[in-house]
Subunit: 477 residues, 2 copies
C-alpha cells in the first residue's frame, strides 16, 4: 500500500466539501491518538461524510483506488481500534457528522438514529419521550452508537438489559462493495435465513461500516433503590447475588464489586467521597434496583433483602441509600475507581470475563499468583460480578519506576492475567474489544476455530482489506 493519490484526495474533497474533508494537521491531531494516549497514528485525510449516501460514495472511490479506511466514532475505545497506523496511508473516516436521531417510535419503544449520535444524546432523546436507553458507560459523553455497536459495548446495566447486541433492534451498514444493508425497521419475527446484521455487532468495523442503528428502549426509571453491602469474600458477594435474584428478579439492575483497596483509593484521591459503611471490607458490593412508573417502590424490597443477607451471615454490613444524593454518592465511588487509580500512578489494565460461577475463584486466586510471580505488584479487581466480568488492574511495585517496570514486565503480567481467564473458560476481552492492542493476545490465546470463522467472514465481505486494517485479526493488514 502507498499514500492515497492526489487524484483520490481531490475526488473525496469534491464529494464531501469543506465540512467533510480536511488534511489540516491541527484539525486531525486529536483524532490520531487513542483515548488512553498509548497509540499514535497518522492519516492522509479526515473524511466526515454527512449521510449514508456519502459514506457509500467514499467507499466506492476508495475501493476503486485500493485505499484503506480507518473508521472512527467518538474515539473513546479502550483498545485503539479507531486509531490509524503510523504510515499515514490510511484515510480516517469519522461518522461524527452523522448525528441525527432519525425517529423515536414511542409505542414500539424504538429509536432510529445515525451511527454518529453520541450515547448521552441518545439518553436525553429517549428520556424526553418518557423512555430510556439503558446502556451506559463512562465514555457516554463521547462514545457514538456506531462505536458501541461495533464493540458490542457493555457497561453497568448488562445484568438486566444485556450488551449492545441485546439492545440493537436494527442496523444500517455500508458494505465494502458500496452497497447498503438496510435492516433498520425491526421485525419481531423474521426468518429468512441467518440474520446478517448480527455479523456487524462487535465486528470492530472490519466487516462493514455501521451508519444507522435502531435501539430498543425501555420505560424510564421512576424510582430506584441503591444499597451497599460489605462481605468477606467474592464468593460471599456471588452468594448474595444468587440469594437476591429470586426475590428481586427483574428489578435488579446493578451489582458491582470492589475491594477495600479501591474504596480507600477513592476516599483518599477523589474529593467529597467517604466510606459508606464503617466495616472495612474486605469486599464491598453496590446494588441497584430500578422500577418504572406503575411498578412497586423497590426500596422496601431491597431493604428486606439486605437485612436477610446480614441475618444469614452472608454480609457483615449493609446500608440503603436514604436519598438520591446518597445513591449518587455510592455510584460516584464506583465510577471513580479508575480516576483514583490514575491519581496514584500507571497500571496495567485488563478487562476479562469468566463464567459467572467462576468469577470468585478468579478474583481469589489470580492476585496471589501474580504477587508470587511478580513480587510487589498490586492487583485490583473490581466491576461487574454479576456478568462474570471484572476490570483487573495491576500496579507496578511501590518504589519502582512505574513506566519502566511496565515496559519490562507488562506483557508477561497481561499474559498471565489472560491465560488464567482462558483456563477458566473465559475471555481476554469482556467488553472493550480487541482493537489494535489485543490482537497479538487474541492470536495467541483465542480459539482457532472461532478466529478462523471471523477470518472467513472478513475474506468474504472485504476481500481487499479496505476496512480498519490492523484491527482485530492478526492477519488483517
Amino acid at each position: 500500500m502507498t499514500q492515497p493519490s492526489p487524484a483520490l484526495l481531490a475526488d473525496l474533497a469534491a464529494l464531501l466539501g469543506p465540512k467533510g474533508f480536511t488534511t489540516d494537521a491541527d484539525v486531525m491531531a486529536p483524532w490520531l491518538s487513542d483515548w488512553r494516549g498509548r497509540v499514535h497514528g497518522a492519516a492522509a485525510a479526515l473524511l466526515s461524510p454527512a449521510s449514508t449516501a456519502e459514506v457509500q460514495a467514499v467507499v466506492r472511490l476508495c475501493a476503486a483506488a485500493g485505499a484503506r479506511l480507518t473508521l472512527q466514532g467518538g474515539n473513546s475505545g479502550q483498545c485503539a481500534g479507531a486509531t490509524p497506523d503510523a504510515s499515514g496511508e490510511a484515510l480516517l473516516l469519522s461518522l461524527r457528522r452523522m448525528n441525527a436521531v432519525r425517529a423515536i417510535d414511542r409505542d414500539a419503544m424504538l429509536m432510529m438514529a445515525d451511527a454518529g449520535v453520541i450515547l448521552q444524546h441518545a439518553h436525553e432523546a429517549a428520556v424526553a419521550t418518557g423512555l430510556r436507553f439503558p446502556l451506559t458507560l463512562g465514555g457516554k459523553g463521547s462514545a457514538t452508537l456506531g462505536g458501541l455497536v461495533s464493540t458490542n459495548a457493555g457497561g453497568t446495566q448488562v445484568l438486566r438489559h444485556g450488551t449492545m447486541r441485546a439492545l440493537t433492534a436494527g442496523l444500517e451498514v455500508v458494505l465494502a462493495d458500496g452497497s447498503v444493508l438496510d435492516m433498520m425497521v425491526p421485525l419481531a419475527k423474521d426468518n429468512q435465513g441467518p440474520d446478517p446484521k448480527q455479523m456487524f455487532i462487535g465486528a470492530e468495523g472490519v466487516l462493514g461500516i455501521v451508519t444507522g442503528v435502531t435501539l430498543r428502549l425501555v420505560p424510564d426509571v421512576a424510582m430506584r433503590a441503591v444499597g451497599w453491602l460489605t462481605v468477606e469474600t467474592p464468593s460471599d458477594a456471588l452468594a448474595a447475588l444468587r440469594r437476591m435474584e429470586p426475590v428481586l428478579g427483574n428489578a435488579l439492575e446493578g451489582f458491582e464489586i470492589l475491594p477495600q483497596r479501591a474504596l480507600d483509593n477513592v476516599v483518599a484521591h477523589v474529593p467529597g467521597t467517604r466510606a459508606p459503611v464503617e466495616t472495612p471490607g474486605p469486599w464491598h458490593v453496590l446494588v441497584e434496583l430500578v422500577a418504572a412508573e406503575g411498578e412497586d417502590d423497590p426500596a422496601p424490597r431491597l431493604e428486606a433483602a439486605l437485612g436477610g443477607l446480614i441475618e444469614a451471615g452472608v454480609a457483615s454490613d449493609a446500608m440503603l441509600a436514604g436519598s438520591e444524593a446518597q445513591a449518587d454518592m455510592l455510584w460516584r465511588i464506583r465510577d471513580a475507581i479508575s480516576e483514583a487509580e490514575r491519581a496514584i500512578g500507571p497500571a496495567m489494565q485488563h478487562d476479562i470475563s469468566v463464567p459467572v460461577a467462576r468469577m470468585p475463584a478468579y478474583i481469589e486466586t489470580v492476585p496471589g499468583e501474580l504477587t508470587a510471580a511478580f513480587p510487589g505488584v498490586i492487583p485490583l479487581a473490581f466491576g461487574h460480578l454479576g456478568d462474570g466480568n471484572v476490570h483487573f488492574h495491576v500496579r507496578p511495585p511501590l518504589g519502582s519506576d512505574a513506566n519502566a517496570w511496565i515496559a519490562e514486565h507488562g506483557a508477561a503480567v497481561s499474559d498471565h492475567v489472560y491465560r488464567a481467564a482462558v483456563a477458566m473458560g473465559g475471555s481476554i476481552s469482556a467488553e472493550h474489544g480487541i482493537g489494535r492492542v489485543k490482537r497479538e493476545s487474541l492470536a495467541a490465546l483465542g480459539d482457532p476455530v472461532r478466529i478462523g470463522l471471523v477470518r472467513a467472514m472478513k475474506a468474504a465481505l472485504d476481500p481487499k482489506g479496505m476496512l480498519n486494517p490492523g484491527v482485530l485479526l492478526p492477519d488483517n493488514g
Copy 2:
C-alpha cells in the same frame, strides 16, 4: 453429483454401526417426506451419529467423497427444509440419537443439551429443577433443539421471551471442514470480534451442523392468568395491547388474535370446545399473564386491565378464566385453529410478519384485496399480533375442487400475500423459515443485499455445498 459410492457407504456403516446406519427403505420412509406431506424425497442412507465426534467423522468422510448431507431433527418443519431431494443422492443425517440433556446449571439458569433433544423433553427437564424453558409451539413433541435453533423458532411466548436467538446462550457446531466450534459455555460479556455462533441461528443447516445447544432458562411459572377479549377490529386489539403493556409490563406473555370465523370453526369441528363469550366478535384476543414464585398474583391485575378496556370502549366483551381448566380451554381454542381448518379442507398457508404497528392494516386490507382478485376465497388471519406475525390462511372458494384450485391459483395467491407483507416492510417468513418451499419466493421478493450476504457466508463456510443442498438459497445445490 452422483449416488454416494459403495465405498463411502461401507465406511459410514463401519463408523456408525447398525444403530447409526441404515439403507432400509421401511426404516427411512417416515423421514423422507415433510411434516405437511407435500414434499417427498429419497436418500441413499440414513445416518444417525450418537456423538459430536461421530458427526465430525461423517462430515470428514463425506467431504472427502464429495457427498451431500440433508440434516434432520424432528422432521416437524413447515417448509420442508429437512427433506432431501428426489434424486436419492443425498445422505440423510439425523441428530435424533443425540438426545441427552448434558447438564443443567440452576444458579446460572442454563441447560446444556444435545441438538437432538426434543423440545418437550427439554421442558420437562427444566421443570424438574424448578425452572422453565419458555419457548413452546405446536410441534413440541417432535421438534428438536437443533432444528429450533436452525429455524430460529418462535411460538406463542415470543412477546416476552423472544425467539430462539434470544434463548440460545451457547452452541456447538460441526463445520463443513469437520472442525467443531465449541461455544457451549456462555459468557455474559465476550468481545473478541463478532459472535460466530449467531450465524448458525436461523441458518437452516446450510452453514454448519448444530450438535449442541445451551438454553437460557427462566423461573418456572407459579401462577398464570388467562383472559379473553372481544374487539371490533385488529386496530382495537393492538390498542388494547398498547394500553396493557405499561400496566402489565413483564408479566404479559401471550397476546393472540383470532377472527370470529376461526372461533366458529373450532367450536364446530373440535369436540369439547365452546365460545368463551357471547359477543360474536368480530375479533377475539387471548391474553396470558404469568408470574413466578414470589411475584404477585397476576389475576387481579389482568381483571383490572380487562375492565379498563371495556370502560374505555376498546373492547366490547371480556372474561377472565376462573380456573386452570378454563384457562386450558381458552388456549385449546387458540391451539386448535389449524386443526379445525384441516377438518374443513385444504388451505394455502402463509406465515408472514410486518412491523407491529402495521399488523392491523395488513389484516384489515389484504383479505379484501384477495377476495377482489380471487373471488370466493376465504382468508383467515390469526396468531401473534404482539409480534407483528400472523398465520394467514386462504381457503379456495366453496364448491371448487380445492386441490385443483390450489394447483392453479395457489402460487398467485401466495405471491399476493407475500408482496403485501414486503410492501409494508415485512417478511415472507416470520417463524417457519424458507426451507425448500419458499426459496423461489425469497429469491423473487427478498432483499438482494441481504441474500448476497447469506450467499457469501455459504461460499465461505461450505464452499463445496455439502450441507443441505436445495435449502434456503435459490442457488444452493
